[in-house]
């Protein structure tokens, strides 16, 4: 009787071992692509639809949808909550995860991949920049840098490839310039960030195959020259570029376009059978699958009141797809032992329970049943931030002060109206474009 009780409780626990998020991402995508922000927001606003262990995804999705719908302040409210919550969960995850150890990761709250937690700050910095709140944008950039530094200090010899965010540094430098136009302090601060961005972009080139953006090199060399550090900057073995001097752009306005493009990668399950003395055991681990974007890149076109047109092509500054894939691979290397240990512990439990069944047939049946159950339960944690973009494109242009009608040219002859902005001498305007859904 008691034995049955054990078996029953195990079955019950296995069956209840976590369910994924109940949010319909297909519906959300169709609402977003139709431009129906009210309906899209309704898809992600109910925390209870996500389930208790997916609260971080709720905050992340709500932040992203609000951002794409132009509600930057609301987006930031969600991002700040997500930032705090994810950090708490991550701190917790450093301690024992008994339930997850015995069952699967769905039994504990999703705390996000490292790159996802870093992108919380990145998106928040972009929101603040678009709102022209540079001081708070810089707070987010600093948080992003500190976070990555801290994660990598924890991993000792198994470090992430993603240890510095190149675009985050580039953005930070751009914001320092925007905050204090032309001041030496602003340029000094910008140079430090650009210098770190240079190293990080080179890493991106070797890790993910992303070329160092030309527009970045121009900014880097311009600011290096303005702060008397050109020798330092020219040591970089990059193709020589020509750049506009700081003197020539001092009285110009600057238009910056941040283009979020394509869908974030989605996690799928990888199952492998590992032979053990007790028979084969199932190991499940997630892997990211990329949805390549058919339409990539864009151009910013600014038309002055006098009818003069300025045009700048965007360049890839952050390949989130590549970062995600590599980041998860790095994590797999770190947790493979834990996954193996979990599989072995479960196998031992199944074996033990089966032996308690009376007859040999009953034992075999129990073993088969529990193994089948375990096959179902041994699930890879395929939760992820589904509303992220897959890549970030970027450009900036210096234009004479004045009023401009802006549009973004996309592929296949399509274009998107970005409204009208007025930009004064030395002023910067950050613009956001998304072609995610």
């Amino acid at each position: 009787m008691r034995r049955r009780g054990y078996a029953l409780s195990l079955v019950l626990v296995l069956l209840l071992a976590g369910c994924g998020s109940g949010v319909d991402y297909k519906k959300l995508a169709s609402r977003m692509s139709a431009g129906d922000c009210a309906a899209a927001t309704r898809c992600v606003q109910k925390a209870e639809e996500y389930g208790r262990n997916q609260q971080l995804l709720h905050l992340m999705d709500a932040a992203a949808v609000n951002m794409y719908c132009g509600r930057y302040a609301e987006s930031n409210d969600f991002l700040h909550l997500a930032d705090q919550y994810a950090e708490d969960l991550w701190t917790k995850s450093l301690t024992a995860e008994t339930a997850a150890f015995l069952l699967n990761d769905y039994t504990i709250p999703y705390s996000g991949e490292d790159f996802e937690r870093a992108l919380i700050n990145m998106l928040s910095a972009v929101n603040y920049a678009v709102l022209s709140n540079y001081e708070d944008a810089l707070v987010e950039c600093r948080r992003l840098n500190n976070k990555l530094e801290f994660y990598n200090s924890k991993y000792e010899d198994k470090k992430n490839a993603y240890k510095e965010d190149a675009f985050g540094r580039y953005l930070s430098g751009t914001i320092y310039e925007a905050e204090d136009p032309g001041s030496l302090e602003g340029l000094d601060n910008a140079f430090i960030d650009y210098h770190k961005a240079m190293d990080a972009f080179k890493d991106y080139q070797s890790q993910y195959g992303t070329p160092v953006p030309q527009v970045f090199l121009e900014d880097y060399l311009r600011v290096a020259e303005a702060t008397g550090r050109l020798d330092e900057a020219l040591e970089s073995p990059e193709a020589p570029v020509t750049w506009a001097s700081q003197e020539s752009v001092r009285e110009m306005g600057r238009l910056v376009l941040i283009h979020l493009n394509g869908r974030a990668p989605v996690k799928e399950q990888d199952k492998v059978l590992v032979p053990t003395p007790r028979g084969p055991i199932t190991l499940a681990f997630p892997r990211f699958v990329v949805w390549p974007s058919a339409c990539r890149g864009s151009a910013l076109v600014a038309r002055s009141a006098a009818g003069r047109e300025f045009r700048a092509e965007t360049e890839l500054v952050e390949d989130i797809n590549a970062i995600a894939l590599r980041n998860l691979e790095d994590r797999r290397g770190r947790v493979v032992l834990k996954t193996l240990a979990r599989a072995a512990a479960k196998q031992a439990a199944i074996e033990g329970i089966s032996r308690q069944m009376g007859s040999r047939e009953a034992q075999a049946a129990a073993r088969l049943g529990l193994n089948l159950l375990n096959l179902v339960v041994e699930r890879a944690d395929t939760r992820s931030w589904r509303t992220l973009p897959g890549e970030i494109f970027f450009t900036r242009m210096f234009v004479p002060p004045g009023s401009y009608a802006l549009r973004a040219e996309l592929c296949e002859g399509r274009s998107r109206d970005l409204g009208t902005v007025r930009v004064g001498p030395g002023e910067t305007r950050f613009l956001l474009l998304d072609t995610i859904f």
């Binding site: 019950l12 626990v13 705090q84 701190t91």
Partner: protein, 206 residues
């Protein structure tokens, strides 16, 4: 065998604990009124107490320095001070406006300096004067060009340094303030105040 039972019991126990936790999540909240002067540290972030204490201490330090007496001896009047920008150079979102207000209050309450409205406040007051010039009687309308110019400007920044290990963190705040003579650009006083906080994280929940 015993291990197996243990494992099963543990699993069942965990499940029960899970339900128990879910059940607890719906408990009612309690609200207690506290004094605004009470020191309550919830998150380890910069808070109203830090803002108030730093402002009071730094202003006290600034007013105890020779520049104040020197100015009074030279001009025979109290110096007029304006609080400029306090930059947030930290890693958290600090409302520097409340800190600026704390600085202004401490300066004003000291009774040793005069104080003029900041740039944003002045704009509103000027708007009102323009309005008065049109709509108020001549006896009560305030004149233009009678504003008092400040002698010194107080400006500075708040910076942080963080050091973390696991769930523990030491956060170090450094507030730098400078008092600049607006006529000569000479720095009359430079002040620095540091706060160190130790934060141990165990809280869980959004």
């Amino acid at each position: 065998m015993r291990k197996t039972r243990g494992a099963v019991l543990l699993l069942a126990g965990l499940l029960l604990a899970g339900f128990f936790l879910v059940g607890l999540a719906g408990c009612g909240k309690t609200v207690k009124r506290v004094e605004t002067s009470d020191v309550i540290d919830l998150s380890g972030r910069w808070n109203d107490t830090d803002s108030r204490l730093v402002a009071e201490e730094m202003v006290q330090d600034a007013l105890s320095r020779p520049w104040l007496e020197d100015f009074r001896d030279a001009r025979g009047a109290r110096p007029v001070v304006i609080v400029g920008t306090v930059r947030n150079r930290s890693t958290e979102h600090i409302n520097t406006q409340t800190f600026v207000k704390d600085l202004e209050r401490s300066l004003l309450n000291s009774g040793r300096v005069d104080f003029v409205a900041s740039r944003i406040e002045r704009e509103e007051i000027r708007e009102e004067r323009k309005d008065q010039a049109v709509y108020s009687s001549e006896e009560t309308a305030k004149e233009h060009g009678r504003e008092i110019g400040a002698d010194f400007m107080l400006q500075g920044s708040i910076n942080t340094i963080e050091d973390r290990e696991g769930g523990k963190m030491v956060r170090f705040y450094q507030v730098n303030l400078e008092l600049v003579n607006l006529e000569t650009n000479r720095k009359a006083w430079i002040g620095e105040k540091q706060i160190k906080k130790f934060i141990s994280r165990s809280r869980l929940g959004p």
